[in-house]
Amino acid sequence: MARILVIEDDAETSAEIAACLSASGYQPKQVFDGQQGLEAALAEPFDAITLDRMLPGRDGLQVVKALRDAGSEAPVLMVSALSDVDDRVSGLRAGGDDYLVKPFAPTELIARLEALLRRHSRSGKAEILLQVRDLELDLVKHEARRGGRRIELLPMEFKLLEFMMRNAGQPLSRRMIFEAVWEYYFDPGTNLIDVHVGKLRRKIDTPGLTPLFKTERGLGYMLHAD
């Protein structure tokens, strides 16, 4: 059972995050200020950390910097009310692994944490062929095949499919998809990502085949893994 350290000064939000983590099978530990958070993170091993950007005591940027300086490699999800690209960049530069803007749905937080946990466990592997069941994506030849049959994809669709296949079995929020595939950090609205995923879905899940795409209600999409 993965252990998650939740550093968040607002008791309600912290309780909500902890409850969601417990419900998803994680073991959360709540800490309410920066200094305690840093001490807790260094005292015992955690699989991941959610860290509020603005904290009493020590602010989030200082905490993540101190963590990295002390040699900790636990993935850190920074949570902030500041959404500007500059804030995001400074958060990631300080050592954060992902950046989530408040207000957020708890499912979004879980999805991002899971992505971080997975990325952390298989980082450093360079792949040339991605495979999910009978769907194959050749990253060198830029080709997609399902059950041996070639599928024509536009460049953006290829990028989208690659991202979803790399995170197969992992629910992905619309915002995560937009940030990873298009590399923009503003709010694209719900429909926009839906239509892009919808188009790709129709190309991959043609009638008669076992559907690989799954809609995650209130969050986004997931590609079924094995």
């Binding site: 709010d187 694209p188 429909n191 919808g198």
Partner: protein, 449 residues
């Protein structure tokens, strides 16, 4: 008005400085006159004394006493001094009782105070005769001393009067500006106390104080305008957020009252709250954009590239909504911009255009203008925005009436306006008959590629 306060005014200091310089000049002039005239008169006296001494020296030694008596009789013993003393300083003849100790034979002239034998200031020279006796010749110099005294007095009084007049002028000249400063100060304190309508008084003189007051007044105008803008946007925000919050509260209240509520009821409340959060997110985004440092992330940006990326992103959405989205950008037009922000702005415009033109609509994105003022044009054939509302929708945090039925923050155009303002571009809305034509007037990059 205290002296220390007066002293701090520039006018006063300048007047005093000028007064001092003038006094010094006048003193130098009088000093020159004094030196020139006194020296001239003294030299003349010395010349006469030498001539007289020379004349007497030429007479035979035994006749000296007689010549002295003669000379005294000729020029009067009240004006001239003629005297003869023995080698050891004993009086022999003439109108000087004793040999003055400072007087040296064949030495420089000496001036002596009045004595019993010659009752006036005298200038004397002494000559040693071949017999060893000493001849003293002198002259009354009271007149010379008087002229010296007159010039000295003139020097002193003119100096004093120039300084006094300078002080008086300085004070008089400084009091005026100081009074005006007092008035400006009072106005400033009134403004600081919260009376933002108050302005600095100005005169018709257009002097430096008026220039300063004018600048302050302009500043105050800007502050007042910004304050009222902030107030207006605060009211808009309050109004905008209160509506969905009130609805959510009412719905929650209804759920609380009825024992058998439906899950859909709660979903509706969640929807209302989500809308509030959505608006907050947009408001925060606008504040962030406004607080951003200008030019921070700016680089040469190809407008055609931005447009085709936006169209690529929105094409599927348009298709799903039955809207024809087309773009005809000419490549190679470069502007200095933050490409991510410009992308966000154009995205917002295209998103709006697709939403409002609806099924069967046509949205065109293109480039217009020329190379120095290129324009990004987004045109739809939807219902458009009424003329009265067109300027309002560009205001900070304004939420258009037409957004009430469409999901989203409704602040898209405000976000676009903030981004455009950050770039110092211009945003304009035009009637497209039917529909709306939104134009972002950019500035061409000075650089060529």
């Amino acid at each position: 008005m205290r002296i220390s306060e007066l002293w701090r005014t520039t006018t006063f200091r300048l007047t005093i400085l000028y007064g001092l310089v003038f006094a010094l000049g006048a003193m130098a002039l009088l000093g020159m006159i004094y030196v020139q005239s006194a020296v001239y008169l003294t030299r003349r006296v010395d010349g006469i004394l030498n001539n007289e001494a020379d004349a007497l020296m030429r007479s035979p030694p035994q006749a000296m006493s007689g010549r002295i008596a003669e000379a005294l009789a000729l020029s009067g013993d009240r004006i001239s001094v003629f005297a003869l003393f023995s080698a050891n300083g004993q009086w022999i003849a003439g109108n000087l009782g004793a040999l003055p100790p400072a007087l040296r034979a064949n030495g420089p002239p000496v001036e002596i105070a009045p004595t019993h034998s010659f009752p006036a200031h005298a200038r004397l020279i002494a000559r040693r005769l071949p017999s060893g006796e000493e001849l003293v010749v002198g002259r009354d110099v009271n007149q010379l001393r008087e002229i010296r005294a007159i010039i000295s007095a003139a020097l002193l009084w003119s100096g004093i009067s120039i300084i006094l007049v300078g002080l008086a002028c300085g004070t008089a000249l400084s009091i005026g500006p100081l009074r005006r400063l007092r008035v400006l100060q009072a106005a400033g304190q009134d403004i600081a106390a919260g009376n933002l309508k108050r302005r600095m008084p100005t005169s018709a003189r257009r002097d430096e104080l008026d220039m300063f007051a004018g600048t302050v007044n302009y500043m105050m105008g800007e502050v007042e305008r910004l304050m009222s803008e902030v107030k207006a946007s605060t009211e808009t925000i309050a109004h905008d957020l209160r509506t969905p919050l009130t609805r959510a509260r009412a719905q929650l209240h209804r759920i609380q009252q009825s024992p058998d509520y439906q899950p859909d009821d709660i979903a509706r409340v969640v929807g209302e709250i989500d809308e509030v959060l959505e608006r907050f997110r947009a408001l925060l985004r606008i504040s962030e954009l406004e607080a951003r440092e200008r030019q921070a992330g700016f680089k040469p940006t190809d407008l055609a590239k931005i447009i085709s990326q936006v169209v690529e992103l929105y094409e599927p959405l348009a298709e799903a909504g039955g809207v024809r989205l087309s773009a005809a950008p000419a490549p190679g037009i470069i502007v200095d911009a933050d490409p991510k922000l410009l992308f966000e702005a154009v995205s917002n415009l295209v998103d709006n255009a697709i939403k409002f033109s609806g099924e069967g609509g046509v949205v065109e994105v293109g480039l217009g203008g020329d190379r120095t003022r290129p324009e990004i044009v987004v045109r739809d054939n939807g219902p458009g925005i009424s003329e009265g509302e067109r300027t309002a929708v560009l205001q900070r945090f304004y939420r258009s009436e037409r957004n009430r039925l469409i999901p989203g923050s409704g602040l898209g155009l405000s976000v676009v306006a903030a981004i455009v303002k950050l770039h110092r571009f211009e945003l304009a809305l035009h009637e497209a008959n039917p529909g709306l034509r939104v134009v972002i007037k950019c500035r061409g990059s000075d650089l060529t590629y």
